[in-house]
Symmetry: none
DNA sequence: AATGAATGAGCCTTCATTCAT
DNA sequence: GATGAATGAAGGCTCATTCAT
């Protein structure tokens, strides 16, 4: 009578993947606190005890999700960058493109990774922030490298700003799909222009100064 | 009597302010879901039924908080901009400075307004997003105005990016207080450089193009 | 339509007493682990949250029960002894009589206090053992006092044995009510004979020696 | 392979012994309710279904444990008594000594048998009480025999008291190992003095009478 | 204007127990 | 002879919310 096919007795690895997929969807939809283990188990097509048996507590489950998705996203970006010896602008462009592409293809993963799914003070806050910092450090590296010995002053602030801009664009694209300028390539290009040309000219010390 | 804490029979407006102040603190500390009405009532120094009587449900209370704080923040930014007929760059600078100043002075308000306190799916998501959109629209207006008839193509995307960059910087400043570059003025200057010089050169059609 | 009278909105103290009465009954019936907060709440005629609001966790509730019942039992025994300057045998007799009387009148309280309700390792094990030790020390005092400077050697062991004998008799009386020799007075007399005459002759160094 | 821990395909009797040994340890450590089948299976080095296959439910398992350990303890005591035609005091002494010795050597068994592991209401309460009754009856027999036709009135009560005293001393010895008077021989002697000299004088109708 | 008393509903977690191989 | 996979049922605890005063 309708409903999903009841395929029982699967090997553990398969079940674990199913559960984590379900978990990512639920956490993305409701956030960590509001997501319920009941719903996750149901969506995964298993009973709740099995989730606890395989993945541990709710917190451990969420941490596992974050770790898995972070690794995937970082891997996708790294694969996009390909060659760390290319010129910085090419690296940045390739990374941005890979980022926006991945995020467009895995919206739930992105929601879980971005701050929207959890709330500060949650014990895995840093688990998730680590990825952000890793990316920010990478970007800061690119900036520093491109600017040579230039004003290394606010490199960290600039990196934070750039990462925030990327997140914001990704969210915007995810929230208004189909709007002009929200395709992965367009978003990447928009941000590249915003960032690069600006940063490039900062080097030539063409700075804007407060009135 | 005397210095005792139990000051009853206050006029409604005062009580409401107390409650909302307490609510903002709690929501900022724990996030919407984790904040408890018990704690809010206790922090406000009133009984729980009074909170329900005056402010309605938890959701309504949170919406009210967001509305109040959003109005305050927008007001501060508007007051900072002062004169909408000044040149666009001056307006942007003034707005950024007012924003970072306000945020530094009202950290709880900012936490509640930024995405960190709530989780998507909550019914007030748009209530809070409205403010973001309002700011984004303002910024988009400035950009469009500055660019004249230039390529208005990705004005909205640029605005999103800029707002995201500002949020990210504000969060960064809030999380690492005292770090170099996190004062309101420095943050505003960092972002202004990042944004304006880039945007300015976009006008001169000095665009970076994908390889 | 039948059922208990629904007397709501009682003052807190009354409710707390009701709850603890119910708790003592449940803990006596099933032991700490097997007793469920649901059943306790139902038996008390209130909802579960109220139990938690007033008495805290299950563990705190049990500790409170033990404390209350221990105080009551110790009080009854103390009241029975009346005058600590009377001869030791009179004190012991009065104490035993009071003990067996109280235990016969409050069987649930006795079950909760005796080891039968909890299991070693439970966090309140010592909370409950304290009472046992208090009684054992009192008895040991009597013995020592009666024996004068005699063989103070195994006073503690003797006290342990006497307390155990009393517990055992009390359990036996509780489990087989109506059997000959199980009335409070008879039980007390049995134990008094068992203990006193034996102990009395120990003084005269009429000791039995291993073959 | 080789010295690995996985020794499969053992004969049923061996497996059963392993399981029951593990069960006794777990039940002694945590009590009936708190002991988990998972832990027992793991400690026995087998999978959970095997436990169920061989020993049935948790309750049956516990009953089996009690039965086995009770038989062993009773056997030890019986072997200690040796000759039921010896004088009563020698029999009692031998029995007590055997009891305290066995208990000192098998602490887990004693915990499981004494009331400390289970909580009343459990269906095996009588299974365990049977052993107690058996011992009490034996003691009562000794007392009756020694008293001749004397006042057989409270023989059963005296037996209960003596058994309780023995249990209490055994517990005390188990809980405070190494304390003076807690060796098997000392404990047995203490109790023998306490009991026998008292009982012996009861025969001479040297009774203490309530004031 | 204000509160002490009370609860329905839900959530995380665990455990004894059983299939199917 | 032995096990990996799986679950129904229940238990402790909390929370937003309301009633009666």
């Amino acid at each position: 009578m309708g409903g999903g096919a009841k395929a029982r007795r699967l090997p553990r690895v398969v079940r674990e993947r199913q559960m984590m997929d379900a978990a990512v969807r639920c956490f993305a939809r409701h956030g960590y606190q509001a997501a319920s283990m009941d719903e996750i188990a149901e969506l995964a097509g298993v009973s709740k005890p099995l989730v606890y048996l395989y993945l541990g507590s709710k917190e451990e489950l969420f941490t596992a999700c974050i770790r898995r998705e972070a690794r995937a996203l970082l891997g996708a970006v790294a694969a996009g960058v390909e060659d760390r010896s290319r010129p910085a602008d090419e690296q940045l462009w390739a990374g941005l493109l890979a980022f926006f592409t991945y995020v467009a293809d895995h919206p739930d993963a992105w929601v879980v990774l971005s701050r929207r799914a959890w709330t500060q003070g949650e014990p895995f806050a840093d688990e998730a922030s680590r990825m952000r910092e890793e990316i920010a450090a990478f970007v800061a590296g690119l900036i520093g490298e491109a600017h040579g010995g230039g004003s290394g002053r606010d490199v960290r602030g600039l990196a934070q700003a750039l990462v925030g801009a990327a997140e914001s664009l990704a969210d915007w694209a995810a929230e208004s799909p189909g709007a002009p300028g929200t395709s992965a390539k367009e978003a990447a290009a928009t941000l590249m222009n915003f960032a690069w040309v600006g940063l490039g000219n900062l080097m030539k010390s063409e700075r804007w100064s407060p009135p």
